[in-house]
């Protein structure tokens, strides 16, 4: 038992999650008032952003922060431990959700609001923040379920058969994956008798390495399914193109990234021995994902479906560092995931605007947007180049870090995979660009409306695209944060010290 009260400043660790949950409950009560709902949701997200920013500032200056619930000693009570990785991701998640809510202004259907749209959004962001900030693997599973149930709700809010069809596929695979994650957590508990990340790091070396590798493989399988890594990626392009664009942007920006974050956390920091045993299959999966994602995007004409395949390719790139975890490569992965939260949320918002303007979802029926909608064209162009990793945009720097890491270690294969992914992604987005924007206007393009797309949608997309440019021009904070995060992931001594456990 802890004799003294937890200092008030440590509550900062749970503040983002608490704000999200309180806000979600409040919004449930306010759901019949659309304008008030939007304003309350917006203010709660701003508060979460501020809490996350304060937490990140503290983590960067003082090292990881931990809080244990319910008057228990650290390995027994549920711990929330924020390090630079978790706090950085949580901050980015709050920012992107904020932009997505801005994009909903003026386009949120009344029925969806009455059915709890804003409440579910805050619940989703609370679940995402919880997954980023928790220091306990069972608690990680719980936050995955919170995210999942919120995203289920968001997916079917439209209520049309199309939404139900997508939700069936999304729901079935994600429930199975989360349950397998729970199986892995249960077996890990049976093996080590603890669930606290820091305590697992301490106790794992004493366990049977073969059993540990088996448990690691199960956790890896479950999380890779949720991250949409290659053999298990088919659910993502089957579902992410159906919900309204701001909701899809939120899901595309956050959900797979949480799973990728959990893979980094579990395999790099918590079970490094299991990662070393699984290096070969992980490498094959990461390389295949990084190449097959953009290749599929080249062959896909549905705009948002093509973006889904590009997103999958990005996950593959982020997982590459798991096969050769050097400090620079891991920093590259963390930075890549942070930037891809921004980039893909922006791309999905812009895709929603393109669909609103053209009234079409398939790029083969679009055309000539460049002459009609200059602003939208610029947004898409900038963001798509960032997704492909062209300097000086945000997407370039993480790939540079990854290349530095792999070339520094003499791992030419992985370096070539990063470059091949960038090239294939560029071809894929180039094809979309030339068909949707640049192609001369065909006869049926009379469908293009000047009025399509709301101001809110445009503002949200512009906010995210502008951040992509700003981060690209001033990459020092991002790179510094990623390097700090990688340092703490690879050497968890500060993380363990924060939980008051003896390493």
């Amino acid at each position: 038992m802890i004799a003294h009260a937890v200092p008030l400043s440590s509550w900062l660790c749970v503040a983002p999650v608490l704000l999200g949950l309180v806000g979600a409950c409040l919004l449930l009560a306010l759901r019949t008032l659309p304008r008030v709902s939007a304003a309350v949701c917006f203010s709660f997200l701003v508060a979460m952003f501020i809490a996350n920013a304060a937490l990140l500032a503290r983590v960067v200056s003082d090292g990881p922060v931990s809080i244990t619930m319910g008057n228990w000693l650290p390995p027994f009570g549920i711990a929330f431990t924020a390090d630079a990785t978790g706090a950085g991701f949580a901050l980015m998640a709050a920012f992107v959700s904020w932009a997505a809510v801005v994009a909903l202004i003026g386009s949120a259907p009344r029925t969806a609001t009455a059915n709890g749209l804003y409440s579910l959004i805050l619940l989703l962001v609370a679940g995402v923040s919880g997954a980023f900030l928790t220091g306990d693997i069972f608690n990680l599973y719980v936050w995955f379920e919170v995210m999942l149930i919120a995203s289920f709700g968001l997916m079917v809010l439209g209520g049309r058969p199309l939404h139900l069809d997508a939700a069936v596929k999304y729901g079935a695979i994600n429930i199975v994956a989360t349950t397998l994650l729970l199986v892995g957590v249960g077996l890990l508990y049976g093996l080590l008798g603890t669930l606290n990340f820091a305590d697992i790091v301490n106790k794992a070396p004493g366990a049977n390495p073969a059993l540990l590798a088996a448990v690691g493989a199960l956790l890896c399988f479950a999380l890779a399914t949720k991250a949409a890594a290659f053999p298990l990626n088919a659910w993502l392009p089957a579902s992410y193109h159906t919900p309204p664009a701001p909701v899809a942007a939120l899901m595309a920006g956050l959900l797979t990234k949480v799973a990728a974050y959990a893979l980094l956390r579990v395999l790099l920091m918590v079970l490094p021995a299991a990662r070393a045993d699984l290096a070969l299959p992980i490498t094959i999966v990461a390389v295949a994902t990084a190449l097959i994602g953009p290749l599929s995007a080249i062959g896909e004409t549905g705009l948002r479906r093509a973006l889904g395949f590009l997103l999958i390719g990005g996950i593959g790139v982020a997982l590459l560092s798991l096969s050769d975890p050097l400090a620079s490569a891991v920093a590259g992965s963390v930075a890549y995931l942070l930037v891809s939260i921004l980039t893909y949320a922006a791309l999905y918002l812009i895709a929603g605007l393109v669909e609103a303007v053209t009234g079409e979802g398939d790029s083969r029926h679009m055309g000539g947007l460049y002459s009609q909608h200059t602003g939208l064209s610029i947004l898409f162009f900038v963001t798509m180049l960032s997704a492909a990793g062209i300097p000086p945009l945000a997407g370039f720097w993480p790939k540079l870090l990854l290349l530095q890491g792999f070339l520094g270690a003499g791992n030419l294969t992985l370096a070539l995979v990063v470059i091949a992914n960038a090239l294939l992604s560029l071809i894929a987005v180039g094809r979309l660009w030339s068909r949707i924007f640049w192609r001369p206007v065909d006869a049926p393009s009379a469908g293009i409306t000047k009025a399509g797309g709301t101001f809110g949608g445009f503002a949200g997309a512009a906010l995210l695209s502008a951040s992509v440019v700003v981060v690209g021009i001033l990459p020092a904070p991002l790179v510094g944060l990623a390097q700090l995060a990688a340092h703490d992931l690879l050497d968890p001594s500060r993380y363990i010290a924060a939980t008051a456990l003896v390493p």
Partner: protein, 125 residues
Amino acid sequence: MEMTLSIVTGFVLAGAIYLILSRALVRVLLGVLLLGNGTNLLIFTAGRLSHAVPPIIAPGKALPESGYANPLPQALILTAIVIGFAMFAYLAVLAFRAYESMDADDTDHMRLAEPEGVPNPPLEY
């Protein structure tokens, strides 16, 4: 006893996976239900079984008697049961609505989000 329960867990999970691989949505649902129950059994077994003292601290003491049963798996299973129940309820309603609106229980006929017979992507720019 732990060995017996482990083997039972294995069979339950194998049955669950068999059902989940089916094309019929109702069977997938039953598989998900079985998977959740198998997982709960697995956590229960992983926490070690014993005929021990209940993990209750007597009044005026700071620690329970030695040799008490492990309370944590029960807490974990309780959490998992609640979550699994909510998820299953959602999926059951979703499957029913999907059946109503698409008139299909066979996932092969649920192709609204990914239509079949789409022409090949254009080869030129």
